[in-house]
């Protein structure tokens, strides 16, 4: 037993420190094959924690003994490999057992959860209280809700995203120094209990006072602090639903209509998918997906409407009539249903999670390329991507596209899914080649990779002003001066420790 192992056992107990090869291999396998990971590194140890005090102790030890700590909150494999160590001397801090739903508050439309809380766990709890979560498109049931919020993953209802940070509100965090902090109105005055007694609900993410530390923690891939709970913005669960569709041969034909809806703040769920992605969301097996895909238009805009009693029906009637008028004016055919797909199937992908991740249903493997841009620029990026697909001789039939308007329409998430059979080495190699080539060319064209995982980070930080990098490094030096948190990720190289 190493000295480090002994010290960790002192903190969390023997049963929570793992050095067995098979355990380490399990964690390693989560990211080893991911195209974003250049040279996969196996962790030295895995430590399971349940208390914030233990996290503090471990980070203090990391500062003293100079090892790196990578937090993992999801049982689900992260398709972006954000949990892959970038440094040889790394331990994994497994937070999956910190999984308490601390508060669900219908009146204030929020919940407070620990990092290990999964979508499968949280959905029924919030629904019971009449709340809905603001989630990524059909998340995996065993995925951490906290991780998606911290990673600024896109949510499907743009009109509820007032700021890019939504739905994340307040956080409790242990900085790299080992210091505990609470952000936003949760900072105080008063304890959380005292704040709640005064009528607060940790709803204001801003501050305390003249800085917003939650924005530094968010998008940091665990390099600034380890979050022990977050408060999360929820909305009211609709009891009346309606789905509308617009289909098109060309993406461009959907954009003006979509822009109008965004400007009027119409529509709850609002996104565009290509035929392969729509089929993958609706069907469970490769054969069913292939069959359905062939019957769908290349592009579909999905518009979810919702209302609640006592005004739900009136709301839906008003919305549908308005949308019909806009569609008529713009020469758009607004559909109440799509052939071969039931509205019930579509509604199921909202306010729900899946045990069968939709991006793995078609061929078993998927690697995603995603970035932020604006809707009007998406056709240009799609054109570029298609040309690279052609040049790499990858099958264009195995490409998914997902376009998600964000921040009430100010920008959008543009995502390409490269589907492949992971057991076919040749195809896998072609997929990797396409992934690497397309990532670079899209960056060169101005695609803004705002969440630069793995190999994207180095490429992306080369393409931004050095003042940005310098400023980020100054911030890192404040909250994690010895670079113990996810050392080597983003622009925080190992040598800066």
């Amino acid at each position: 037993m190493t000295d480090l192992q002994a010290k960790l056992i002192e903190i969390v107990g023997e049963q929570n420190v793992f050095k067995d090869e098979d355990v380490l291999e399990t964690y390693y396998k989560r990211y080893a094959d991911n195209f974003l990971v250049k040279s996969p590194i196996k962790p030295k140890l895995v430590v399971k924690v349940k208390k914030k005090e233990d996290i503090q102790e471990i980070l203090k030890l990391a500062n003293a003994q100079n090892f790196s700590v990578v937090p993992v909150s999801s049982k689900a494999v992260d398709p972006n490999a954000s949990d892959a160590p970038h440094s040889e001397n790394t331990i994994i801090l497994d937070l999956t057992e910190m999984n308490q739903v601390l508060i669900v508050d219908r009146k204030n439309r929020m919940c407070m959860i620990e990092p290990g809380v999964s979508f499968g766990q949280l959905f029924p709890i919030v629904k019971k209280e009449g709340l809905r979560l603001l989630t990524p498109l059909l998340p995996a049931c065993n995925k951490s809700v906290v991780t998606t919020a911290l990673e600024r993953e896109p949510i499907t209802i743009p009109r509820y995203q007032w700021d890019s940070s939504d739905p994340l509100l307040c956080t409790e965090v242990v900085f790299g120094t080992g210091d505990l902090f609470r952000t936003g109105s949760a900072a105080g005055p008063g304890t959380i209990e005292e704040q709640r007694a005064s009528g607060q609900a940790q709803k204001n993410p801003l501050g305390p006072t003249q800085f917003d530390p939650f924005r530094i923690i968010q998008g940091a891939q665990g390099t600034i602090g380890i979050v022990t709970w977050i408060s999360l913005k929820c909305e009211l669960l609709p009891d009346t639903r309606k789905i509308l569709y617009v289909q098109a041969e060309k993406l461009e034909n959907l954009l003006d209509f979509l822009y109008t809806l965004l400007k009027r703040r119409f529509g709850d769920e609002l996104f565009i998918v290509n035929n392969l992605n729509l089929a993958s969301l609706i069907r469970e097996t490769s054969a069913e997906i292939t069959k359905l895909k062939g019957k769908l238009s290349p592009w579909t805009l999905i518009i979810g409407l919702g209302g609640r009693q006592p005004y739900g029906q009136a709301k839906l009637e008003f919305l549908e009539a308005e949308l019909n008028d806009i569609a008529k004016e713009q020469g758009i055919q607004l559909l109440n249903e799509i052939e071969n797909i039931s509205n019930e199937d579509v509604i199921k992908i909202f306010d729900n999670c899946t045990k069968n991740p939709w991006k793995l249903r078609y061929l078993g493997g998927s690697q995603d390329i995603f970035f932020l841009t604006t809707l009007d620029k998406t056709p240009r990026f799609i054109d570029t991507f298609n040309k690279i697909v052609e040049s790499t001789q990858f099958s264009k039939d195995d490409i998914g596209v997902y376009i998600q308007p964000l921040v009430q329409g100010c920008n959008c998430h543009c995502e390409f899914n490269i589907y492949y059979n992971p057991s076919d080495t040749n195809i896998k190699q072609k997929a990797r080649e396409l992934f690497e080539k397309a990532s670079i060319q899209l960056m060169d064209q101005g695609a803004f990779f705002s969440r630069p995982y793995g190999i994207w980070a180095e490429e992306m930080y080369k393409r931004v002003s050095p003042v940005v990098v310098d400023s980020l490094q100054k911030v890192k030096a404040i909250f994690d001066p010895k670079n113990v948190l996810n050392r080597g990720a983003l622009c925080f190289k190992e040598e800066s420790a």
Binding site: F211, L375, V407, S450
Partner: protein, 522 residues
Amino acid sequence: MIKDNEYEALEKIVGSQNISREPVILDTYAFQWCAELLNVINDKPPARYYLRPAAVILPSSTEEIQQIVRVCNKYGLKFKAFSTGLGPWNCVSTPRTIQIDLRRMNKIVKIDTKNQYAVVEPYVSGAQLQAEVMKFGLNCHMPGAGPQVSPLASATSMAGPGFTSASTGFAGRNVLGVEWVLPSGDLLQLGALGQKNDPDWFTGDGPGPSLRGIMRGFVGAKSGLGIFTKVAVKLYPFPSKPEWKISGESPNYKFEIPNYLKFYIINYKDWDALTNALRRFEEEEISFMCYYASRGAICASFANSREEMFSYYSIHTRLKRPLTLMIGAQTEREFEYKKKIVEGLIQETGGKDYTKKIKIRDVSYAEALRCLLGFHGFLITGCFQSTHGGMDTIEMAIRMAKLNAPIKRKFIEKGGIADDQGEGVWLATYERGHMAHCEMPTMYDATKPESVVGWVEYAHACDELDLKEHLGIPFFIEGDKQHEWYGPHCMNYHIWLRKIKEAFDPQNIADPGFYITSKKTS
């Protein structure tokens, strides 16, 4: 104060016509609304002038600002930015500080009508921006301070609550791309603007952590961490038909109310009923504006003179806890739908519609659209400033109003602040009721020392109340003294804030008086 060679180095950058060290010019920057309050807070006489800057300089571009900041670094001068400049926090707070007046940077750089944002320079006012974006059926968030202030200053450096916050949010949450001159003189561009290929304004976050996190918090750094030269702010749909037909002369303008807008004043019998009503109206997502202002404030809001305000006395006595609501629509169908919901909600929440009992002039609609209602707060004494300001839930904001009233009454009895029966409150909802803030506009006489002192003593009691009752952090917790008081009660945040200042501005070149001081100064 400023040496000849220092002055000459600055003059070289902007030309002699754009720099001055004449006392007569400099004092115009020191004369500020509420300066007397800050003087008293800092144990000085209640003068209406704050500190005189060492010089004032008017750059015309980001590059000139970078050069000016580098000169400051070279000679150990400090700088303080000034955009539209409302309030003493625009003043310099230490000697040898130059005022950088940004009025020559007054361009609307871009209006992206599709992606709903505008890029503005510091001296563009809310009114100017609104006038331009409404041509495209769009609107901008404006703070309660009014349409004459800079959206850039509000979004990057100040606070940001507004009368329309229910539908246009909070200034600090409306920020996209940012161009920022750091205290070193380096240019930092946030988000997609910082990338070399096709830089654009549509996001200010990333890659990776968002540097918006150090730019500002609930309130801004007030130039304590550099100068913002351009910002992209989110735009919102204009709430009605974007028409603006106004005639007449001040203050008796006539305004043709555009289709489709409607004001409501709905009276509730007590705080509980009001709390429920605010929540319910916001849950239905129909409002353009939704806030609580005390009955006195309602009477002031719709009056053009003290006499007119007092003529509302009979209404004043009948109003208890009035909710102010405005709805807007693009089509008749939408308007009818929203009116129907309002009628239903009034019944459901036990409110009484007082709209017809109050004479709401057509021009009040223009004032609402243009965020001018706050100006009526000056009607009685000619001056007011708010205390408190914490933001979280509607319930917390209501509790703050309730707890504040007896304290305020005590200070009214003592003399000093004006008598509003302790009820002067503005409580606004944000983002469809997800948040609310509460502040207590408090009238005083800026020309009478005892009144100024009365306001300061009352404000201190408010800050103490917020600490004791856990009502969030007030607006004006800024500067070393206040941070060192509140910090230990709030996770010692002041230690981290100071580290940011020290990392980016160890020598305090950016005036730290309304932010926090680096202790690394050699």
